[in-house]
Symmetry: D2
Subunit: 201 residues, 4 copies
């Protein structure tokens, strides 16, 4: 099944929270995820054809003051900036998704996000589609994870991911059964924040 | 089961959209719903003890330009006013629920709403709770309805309501199995908008 | 000049911040301001004729965690609740004013507010009218104050108020040259928060 | 005086509304404005050094259904999209500015915008800075214009622009006394929408 890009919020077998993001794409496979400083970025590969599509390149992870957000587009920036300004993650996600809305492409592709609220330790997932705006706490036990994708699986749905560290979880995201993987990112938010990214090219 | 107040979005057996609202209450049973002009209001009965609780008395239905909204509190007003100003119902609900948030009582009682978007004919339900803000289109076939309540049944859930006109649907809402009915309102939005209300006292 | 209700943000001669609110009214003079707990409320006097006008009675002052907000309507509640949830005062005012909008009466009466942001000590004033939404920091020196009213004086404008304590400032608000005073409230936010209210009847 | 980027809302000598935008920059002079289809874009020139600054390249003009918006960043997109969805321009500007906030650079550079609301013909200007969020109708007579800039001139301020067509107004914007011009854009919204852009390089 092709579900497009997806975000994941889960806990390792020991209960440590983690987030994941995978770029899946039929149209723009020439992309990679680069981890740098307090963010990760989706970028075209060096051999990618030029494009002016504004949804191709964007921060897909931002951290601030113990909170972490992953997303399928530039809404990750206002979300983390409002969290840094004092908003709860529920409100930061809801406001950014309401204002920026779905992507105005031919599919009305939803904007999706997942995050960890530093002060409370709560995990949240969110989506805005043309018929919906939902931000909700992701209640996951140790060893469980929930996925929200841009297509087909657009409500929080369990996903089975083997692995307890960022590398293994990133591999599990990349190789999961959903079609057309392009790049994957996992971030485990324990005493340290550990990130791993993997791309096809 | 006690689920508190609840809203309903459904379609009659012939497919005509309808909305419903029921006041259920353990603490304030002395209330009634009065239909007047383009609105319906929850009011204390004449024998109710005085209270300064701001959540006791409020518009619970507003109409404007073919759109209709029911809700468990004063958020019905900004929702219908933004719809009248041109917003889609999804955005009007999301903005009002984000700004007004859950009721700041001991239970963090959610704000809930249901509505019909006049231009599109789409039905929506929405809720804001301390862990969630969700507004979504209610996809219901003829003869079906979805309920969202303040407690227990806080995601859209099928409810079986016998009847095809406002009177019958109002009775079905009032006498449904959920506990502590106080007052009920149904509005059927066909070529005419027909409303019916029923209270215990 | 009749300017309707107005809010004030200022500093005493020693630089202590204060806020003020005055009810001025041609239509509903039978009202008073009652200070109670962490709030102040505009209420009808005992001899007021009954009304179902939703804009007659409302909290006009709320405090939470060092922040204080005064306003000409029920928007004071979501503003202070969002501040208590972590929002900055600029954002809390802007969101509530955007969502609740001007009063839907014959005059499109603006909603106005003034507040002190506890953590920063910054004063803000805000207004939403049918042609405008403005929230801005009120830069005032010791001995100065700015007023925003619902009519005529709808942008921040200096007002001269004699007095350095809540009682004196409240009297100065009540007796200021603007017409049709009904009730006034002043709150001085020093090491203690001191409030004073005065009504005609 | 260096005021950074600025937007303009005005009327020609015959009363036809127009909007303007000028890129002024000390740091990134190698940019141009390209008009294409229903938008105009700020792009690096071919000889510009590479940068990953997300505020360098963006749509600076969007049109939809008779409404037109100019802005100093990507907020132009959600503003016009919400207008196309039915929002009034006041609300569309306020929501996008609230959600996206000032640019998170070393200067907290404000986001600014100007627009014409198609259905009403009203002109609006808006700004979000760290101490302010203001969106207001721009009341301008024939032959007048108001400017809002990112620095120094951050409240609506008259600007004298000679010319009555897009070319002349664009030249007037480019050559106005404010320092460090990089590129200018003017759009006159008469029976036809006529745009003109001019860049240094």
């Amino acid at each position: 099944m092709y579900v497009g890009r997806f975000v994941v919020a889960g806990r390792t077998s020991s209960g440590t929270p983690f987030l994941g993001y995978r770029v899946s794409s039929r149209s723009f496979p020439n992309r990679r995820i680069v981890v740098a400083g307090e963010r990760a970025v989706v970028l075209p590969t060096d051999d990618a054809p030029p494009t002016d599509n504004p949804y191709i390149s964007y921060n897909c992870l931002r951290q601030a003051e113990g909170s972490v957000v992953v997303a399928n587009g530039s809404h990750v920036d206002p979300i983390i900036e409002k969290v840094a300004a004092g908003y709860g993650l529920r409100d930061a996600m809801a406001l950014a998704l309401l204002a920026l809305d779905y992507e105005h492409d031919a599919y009305h592709t939803p904007r999706i996000a997942a995050g960890l609220e530093g002060p409370s330790g709560a995990l949240y997932v969110g989506i805005v589609a043309d018929d919906r705006l939902c931000v909700q706490q992701a209640i996951v036990e140790a060893g469980q994870a929930l996925l929200v994708a841009t297509y087909e699986v657009t409500t929080p749905t369990p996903i089975d991911l083997a692995g307890d560290d960022a590398e293994a979880l990133c591999d599990a995201l990349y190789t999961s059964a959903y079609e057309h993987p392009v790049a994957a990112l996992a971030v485990v938010i324990g005493p340290e924040v550990v990130r791993a990214a993997r791309s096809a090219r």
